[in-house]
């Protein structure tokens, strides 16, 4: 049965105050549209999990939806800092932001443990680093084989809600991604509820033609939202480019809470949904972000009847 719904309904029904929410994406497929809808619906006290909190989390933190962040790298990639987040961390302005931090590999393995229903995941990292000193969840252990091998373990991370952007999915949520994968698959399997947001909802037959490209099965998906340009200013491989202009602009916008609030008023609270956001930019703007063609070529699965 179809799981296709609107972003308003998906967020309204699945994201609750106090939830741990992961809007993942490693520079690629970052669902800004979902972040904006969460701001618009004025969720509060969220714990935001993500390997690389960037502009969308700075927007959410600046809007006051979050009280804690679980992460491994925070910044405006290629540009600089997250000013809203830093105000809260360095000056509790307007309120504190609790941090729980790992390295990239530690975060990935937390999702892996969550996805695989493991009570812990062992990794070879954190040796002689201060990170475990400030995060008691990162625990040293010795290999049970008596070979003296030392590892650290991280606990499973099972977000209440994972929001994963992808190029396409069918109505049941069978989801296909190409280009950078990040940990979209792991976070979807680790989460209790999953919202898949796509550039295009396609016929099941499109998915069935290339089953090896399916990254997330409908079996773990609760809602499917079609939101073209839903990653802007990040990108969707083959659909549109990263809008670097905005990443630079955000550096200026976020420097002061006033300019940040004004931006939220104009671009989030002032708009009913992402459709209006897309309209506000206008077709010419989006056309300029479209890449040229680079087709994958086909493979043959063979018909065995």
């Amino acid at each position: 049965m179809s799981k296709v719904t609107t972003m308003r309904d998906a967020v309204g029904e699945l994201v609750r105050d106090g939830d741990t929410v992961a809007i993942e994406g490693f520079t690629h497929l970052i669902c800004f549209a979902a972040g904006h809808e969460i701001i618009r619906q004025r969720r509060r006290d969220l714990t935001l999990a993500r390997m690389t909190p960037d502009v969308v989390y700075d927007q959410m933190i600046g809007a006051g939806v979050a009280s804690k962040m679980i992460f491994s790298w925070m910044g405006n990639p290629g540009v600089g800092n997250l000013h809203a987040a830093r105000r809260r961390i360095e000056r509790a302005d307007p309120e504190p932001l609790e941090l729980e931090e790992y390295s990239h590999f530690g975060m990935v393995c937390r999702y892996m443990a969550g996805a695989a229903n493991l009570p812990f995941f062992p990794i070879r990292s954190y040796y002689e680093s201060d990170i475990p000193r400030v995060n008691p969840k990162i625990v040293p252990m010795t290999s049970p084989y008596g070979d003296g091998e030392q590892v650290y373990v991280v606990p499973p991370l099972e977000p209440d809600v994972a929001i994963v952007h992808a190029q396409r999915a069918d109505a049941d949520g069978d989801t296909q991604i190409w280009g950078l994968m990040g940990c979209q698959k792991e976070v979807a399997f680790a989460a209790h509820k999953v919202i898949v947001v796509v550039e295009e909802v396609v016929e099941e037959s499109v998915i069935r033609r290339d089953p090896n490209r399916t990254v997330i099965p409908g079996a773990v998906v609760d809602a499917v939202v079609e939101e073209p340009f839903g990653c802007h200013p990040s990108f969707a491989q083959g659909y549109y480019d990263r809008d670097n202009r905005f990443y630079l602009e955000w550096d200026r916008i976020a420097k002061e809470q006033e300019t940040l609030d004004a931006w939220l008023d104009e671009w989030v609270y002032g708009l009913a949904n992402h459709g209006e956001y897309v309209e506000k930019f206008g077709d010419a703007y989006w056309d300029a972000l479209r890449p040229g063609p680079a087709p994958s070529g086909e493979v043959d699965y063979g018909r065995y009847s």
Partner: protein
């Protein structure tokens, strides 16, 4: 499963298939094996469980086989499926994560608590018969929410004591079974060529539920290694319906490979 006729207008295999398929009512996904279980799942999809998703141990989801698969890795399973995944993801993200509702298991030996042996007959170090081994059965028995067992019944297979416990069933102590905290509730039904069995909640012991038409309690006793507990409301296994037989014979196994 070897072919055999019958004067009841259907074969024992057809009865076993129909009886098993009815156990899948309302189930959302199922770990499919080859042979009978494959036909059982496909029959259930067309009767009691239209939403049933077939998951194959080989890593295929939502298969739409265009022919009767010869193995769980038949190429017809991958073509046109909704997802193909690595073995690691299949076992870690699906099975171990508790996403599998029902799985079919069988074995060379089963005991009264549904423990299964697919490893050896005789001593492990000096086996009389070396069997295939666990495959995925050990973790399937632990993580699939329900285990359905389909087996031919005989004294050498329904044994008082297993030669080797490959896959755990009930422990005999229901309190312990709950304390294990597994996703799986273990074997819930056993369908043989003679009868169907459930497992009693108070003991976790296999209990005779229905006798197939023409089969007596003595026939059953004669073909198992322990004195079976018998349900108070012991009944007869319903014969396959005309629709079930038509589906099996015309759509699912027209060649009669598994069912005649």
């Amino acid at each position: 499963m070897s072919a055999e006729g019958s004067d009841l207008g259907y074969s024992k295999s057809e009865l076993m298939i129909a009886a098993s398929a009815r156990l899948l009512g309302g189930v959302s996904n199922c770990f499919v094996g080859v042979g009978l279980p494959n036909i059982v799942c496909n029959l259930a999809q067309r009767t009691v469980a239209p939403e049933l998703q077939l998951v194959y141990e080989s890593g295929v989801f939502g298969a739409r086989p265009e022919r009767l698969p010869l193995s769980i890795g038949d190429p017809t399973l991958a073509t046109g499926s909704t997802a193909v995944t690595s073995m690691f993801e299949l076992f870690a993200f699906y099975l171990q994560a508790g996403l599998i509702d029902v799985a079919f298991l069988g074995g060379a030996q089963i005991d009264r608590f549904g423990n299964l042996n697919t490893t050896v007959i005789g001593d492990y170090e000096h086996p009389k018969v070396r069997l295939p081994g666990s495959g995925g059965a050990c973790e399937i028995a632990i993580h699939a929410r329900q285990i359905l067992v389909i087996m031919r019944q005989a004294r050498r297979s329904f044994v008082d004591r297993l030669d080797f416990r490959t896959s755990p069933g009930h422990s005999g102590d229901p309190a312990h079974d709950v304390a294990r905290g597994w996703h799986g509730s273990g074997p819930t039904s056993v369908v043989t060529d003679l009868a169907t069995y459930g497992f009693e909640g108070s003991t976790g012991e296999m209990t005779l539920r229905t006798l197939h038409p023409g089969v007596s309690i003595d026939d059953v006793r004669a073909s198992m290694g322990w004195e079976p507990s018998i349900a108070g409301d012991l009944g007869e296994t319903p014969a396959p319906s005309g629709t079930e037989l038509r589906l099996i014979r015309e759509e699912l196994d027209p060649g009669g490979v598994y069912t005649t």
